[in-house]
Symmetry: C2
Subunit: 201 residues, 2 copies
């Protein structure tokens, strides 16, 4: 079976739910997930999409919605988490390295848990060292590679590919050309991957 | 059991899915739904929230997402439907009258089906006459009442109440003070109504 691509940015709030539940889904279904970090922030800026900063009611709702769903998943989130991330781009350049080297799921889990459960923002210390260590990596090596021109170029290319494919939010699950936006569309993506349609409920 | 309030605006695209599936859910669960029309457009304008006009990728995605989900529900939508509605406020003033008189579910279904399945925008002719007739009402009587100062005031009061309660999008399901935004949160609202929590999946 081809993989489902998971286009995500460390910094997206709802991706906490996705990243926390994907490993179990991968085990249960045998579907492979292909981690595709990109800059959703750059694409949202181009769309003039400011999701929460000027929308306090929407922001308050978002945290409550995530809290209810995190509780259902048995997660121990302390919300609201620090937001938005100052270290957004570094957090995602590290993800680019991680995806290239094959340990992106471990990094994504560790950095989101440190951010959402311990309150240390992703893309900054002490989160970076803690999550890279948890993923079995040498932080100094990875951070040097994350800050390289090669990684910057790969990050930009991934964002260009996302834009060209019509991706405008994170997480987005891609099953071939079919896009499913949001943690709450993961089940639809799984349906589509299996049946080429949404299963009738 | 207390009712679940359904805060909605005729004009919201995803409300087509909600309005189409609520009657069956009402029959299956015995839960009563309390129809609360308001102007989501006014609240979105205050938040400077322009959902789709400047965001072609997001708009294209939305129609595809609705199409997939409409197909799952067995609906026969012709998408994209005309959007946004020029007759937004009139469509919702009619809904205010309908909710007050107790035939809002019938009107909402009829006006959305005429809009999404036949391509005639809600809040304008021939949709108004067709959907009011389908709801068993005299169009001239209802339109006169919809355009009255009393209805205008009730519409404004409903929008003020929505804003005060933290509602910023449609549909929003309210279970007491707990809000659930979006057609895709209807199941969460049903869980909350029954258990005071989201059921573990």
């Amino acid at each position: 079976m081809p993989a489902i691509e998971v286009w995500f940015s460390v910094g997206s709030t709802y991706s906490y739910l996705t990243i926390s539940r994907l490993p179990a889904i991968e085990r249960q279904t045998g579907i492979a997930f292909d981690w595709r970090p990109f800059s959703v922030r750059e694409i949202m800026r181009e769309m003039d999409n400011i999701p929460f900063a000027t929308k306090p009611a929407k922001a308050a709702y978002m945290w409550r919605d995530i809290a209810r769903r995190a509780e259902r998943l048995g997660l121990h989130a302390h919300l609201p988490a620090p937001y938005p991330l100052e270290g957004f781009d570094l957090a995602n350049r590290v993800a680019i390295v991680a995806a290239d080297e094959g340990w992106c799921a471990d990094y994504a889990q560790a950095t989101y848990r440190t951010w959402f459960e311990k309150g240390h923002p992703a893309g900054a210390e002490p989160n970076l060292t803690a999550s890279l260590t948890a993923a079995g990596q040498n932080p100094a090596r990875v951070l040097k590679k994350a800050e390289s021109a090669e990684t910057e170029e790969a990050y930009r290319a991934a964002t260009d590919e996302a834009r060209a494919r019509g991706i405008f939010g994170a997480p987005t699950f891609a099953v071939g050309e079919e896009l499913f936006w949001g943690d709450d569309r993961l089940e639809d993506a799984l349906d589509w991957h299996r049946h080429g349609a949404l299963r009738k409920g």
